[in-house]
């Protein structure tokens, strides 16, 4: 205490460190979406929500592009996880879209940005139809 009185700059340092420690969980909460998706992605709505035709197209796209790793029944194969887990079911459509777009290149999930965004949303619609619409 006497050190803080003697050296006022110590008070500034302590306040700054305390503020940083307090801010970290706030920032982490803002970015800790499904698989690292930013919080803003949760606000994005699926333009094809509950659209049966879109889901059918998404089923075809899933079969062509995703099933070799995630299984024809979304059960997961090898290191690729099942897509019927609680975390996937709990993800918002926007977060799923973000993850399909960006992937996780370090963990073997490719980016699917080469598919038009409409097709990526079709895949999201298909996944939602399998896991129950949100």
């Amino acid at each position: 205490m006497s050190l803080i009185k003697q050296k006022p700059w110590c008070r500034v340092v302590i306040i700054n460190i305390t503020a940083c420690i307090a801010i970290v969980p706030v920032i982490a909460g803002q970015t800790a979406g499904f698989r690292g998706a930013p919080s803003s992605s949760a606000q994005i709505k699926n333009p094809y929500a509950s659209d049966g035709q879109a889901a059918a197209g998404g089923k075809k796209l899933y079969s062509q592009n995703c099933s070799q790793c995630h299984g024809h029944n979304l059960q997961g194969i090898g290191p690729a996880p099942a897509l019927t887990t609680t975390s996937v079911k709990g993800a918002s459509p926007g977060e799923l879209f973000w993850f399909i777009t960006n992937g996780d290149l370090n963990k073997g999930m490719p980016s699917w940005a080469q598919l038009p965004k409409q097709q990526r949303w079709q895949i999201v619609t298909f996944l939602e139809s399998k896991n129950g619409d949100k």
């Binding site: 879109a54 290149l105 370090n106 980016s111």
Partner: protein
Amino acid sequence: MSKLPPIFMKASLGCLLLVTSACGAGERPYFVAYDQTMEEPGNLEIEAKGLTASPQGGNGFLSGVTEFEYGAKGWWTTEFYLDGQTTANESTIFTGFRWENRLRLLMREHKINPVLYVEYEDLSGANKSLLEVVGFDSQYDALVPNREANEEREREIETRLILSSNLNGWNISENFIAEKNLFGKPWEFGYAVAVSRPLSLLASADECIFCRENFQAGVEGYGGLGTANEFTVHGTSQYVAPVISWQVREAVFKISPTFGLTDASYRAMLRFGISYEISGFTRMLRKAFH
């Protein structure tokens, strides 16, 4: 009755797995330019590409390249090429090999996605695949007979900075090429730019061969930019090429009539290719030979 040797059975099983387990995934129709798409980890894509052209006053030729592209990581794709060509009234020859590596520099999608490309080329002077156009490459290079050109060995490092964007279904890609001969010749420069789009942005619900979403169309432009001693477009080859591809389940077919824009360019060329992607190749190999 004699039994087939085990290695034959395993090889046959491996081939069967290859045929039944392939899938395609939004291949661009480009022949020269690259976009930011990497091969999916563990997948192997085999592609055969051809080019036919005829230099003014020379013999027509058909060059062929076989490519083996492997997804080593989500951010690293590696590819091995075998090149050859056949020239009318001359010979058919193997002209060398290449080893290419592409590295995603950023792990997330951005408005512009950079990819670093580094390739080692060990090719003879008779190589005519024109997978890139740099420096003062011209149609007149093909006038040298195969028996002379094939004696010359060119070992080079090709580097590219690939910049690629996806916007409203369109892909726009730019490649800046710098190539260095390892035996002292100056740096050679070139470029490739391309734009393409699927004919439909939505996938239809039906399984179909001629669905519009199975087709992609676009245009490529590429050419030389001179050397470190003379950075210029004068006296270089420049090309513009419409491109189109058609994905049919396991295979992608693509074709590109190409038009030369300068005196140094071939007046016209025709490129064509077919690729076949084998998903989970690494996993299948482990199962087949375990």
